[in-house]
Symmetry: C2
């Protein structure tokens, strides 16, 4: 019983427990790609040398740790909505100062997409992430890996990382990257062209630092089946709508 509970908790961030589907990703068959932590000199140099890091500073200023093991999506939503400067609700801990937090990012509208009790138990799927973000005044686009391609992901993500006012969230299978464990959601902050790798700003800061991941490895980790939806994982783009912020 304690084992089942631990298993549910640890796999809760983005999907139910699962074994990696053999036809889509074979993390046990392939050498897992080396992840370069941003805490290393190499990782730092890659960031400072990147020409597609427009999203890094706005996100890092709002970097938060998911506040429980199922809230990777909640933490990612919070970071992106704050970084986009979307009008925020009040969280009573900050008295009169509005800010998105993991306590107030879910509301009656997001509950209609999926209620927060369900998320607290099993996390959220890619479509639920996109659907909840779309309840805010932002434009969102959901890309399931099965309906997209590595080339499309790289192109869209690199363009996005060069532009202010929009962000990319990735939903991937951690074990496919050699990390523990199951499905996960986090924003990306930069792209390194020479090494063809993306910087994931992992919201489980108590487990992993931000890491650079090869595009191919990240794509493989997104191109996995989420048992909670029966669909592949993937990525979401989120941008301020023109009417909200015409000056940008």
């Amino acid at each position: 019983m304690p084992i089942i509970l631990a298993c549910l908790l640890l796999s809760a961030c983005g999907s139910l427990p699962q074994s990696p589907p053999g036809t889509l990703a074979k993390p046990s068959d392939t050498t897992t790609s080396r992840l370069i932590p941003l805490t290393s000199s190499e990782g730092e140099q890659l960031l400072y040398g990147s020409r597609a890091k427009q999203d890094f500073l706005p996100l890092s200023m709002h970097f938060v740790s998911q506040q429980n093991l199922a809230y990777c999506g909640a933490a990612s939503m919070t970071m992106v909505l704050n970084a986009l400067n979307i009008p925020a609700p009040i969280d009573p801990v900050y008295v009169r100062f509005p800010m998105f937090t993991q306590n107030n990012v879910f509301n009656a509208k997001t509950d209609r997409v999926v209620n927060s009790e369900t998320i607290a138990k099993q996390g959220m799927t890619l479509d639920q992430l996109g659907g909840m973000l779309a309840t805010y005044p932002v434009a969102t686009q959901v890309y399931h890996a099965g309906d997209s391609s590595l080339e499309q992901f790289r192109k869209l993500a690199v363009e996005n990382l060069k532009q202010p006012g929009n962000f990319i969230l990735v939903n991937y299978l951690r074990t496919s990257l050699g990390q523990q464990t199951s499905g996960h959601i986090s924003p990306i902050g930069a792209y390194d062209q020479a090494g063809d790798q993306f910087l994931i700003l992992d919201v489980a800061r108590f487990k992993y630092p931000p890491v650079w991941v090869k595009t191919e490895a990240l794509w493989r980790a997104m191109n996995t089946i989420d048992d909670a939806s029966g669909k592949t994982r993937g990525f979401v783009s989120v941008s301020r709508t023109a009417t909200l912020d015409p000056g940008h």
Copy 2:
């Protein structure tokens, strides 16, 4: 009564309510220096152009918002201890993963310096900040502005910002910078030599983004009397002790 409560809450971060002492700082008499937010293009360029920003990434990876209006010191301690990779206690919200949080950074040892109930009501003084940090395996040095000088602060802080494994926390009077309100504590992340200004990673993220502050303006804001101690504010240096991490 509601007015008194608001006043106590708002002035709680680092000191009791006070009026700026006339002999040390005259924020109402002088033009307040322009603060450049890191959210602006200019602020970003200053960071990327800085040659003293070694502390920025380790701190930004652990950036947190003070979780109540009195916890600027708690949030700053949390960031620095995590960035120094000091062995951390468990916070039950992260199950088995150790990490410093504002829930676990205070303990029986720090309570002997000042108990956390007092901090929750009125924040902490510079000496209390240094004393609580010193209960951890780090070397700390407290500098009251009244016993130091602008030149010493600039020299020590710039050197520190070029080195890994150590950090500077500043304790200053917000109103002296034209901000709201009273005493505050936050770590600094970078120095811009051309503009002679420091980047404050303000832990009240719900109020202010990180800002670049001229050394002279920051010094003036530190060289103010904290009524809770009767002494000037100032800064603290914190570093890993050699025995803990001989490899660095």
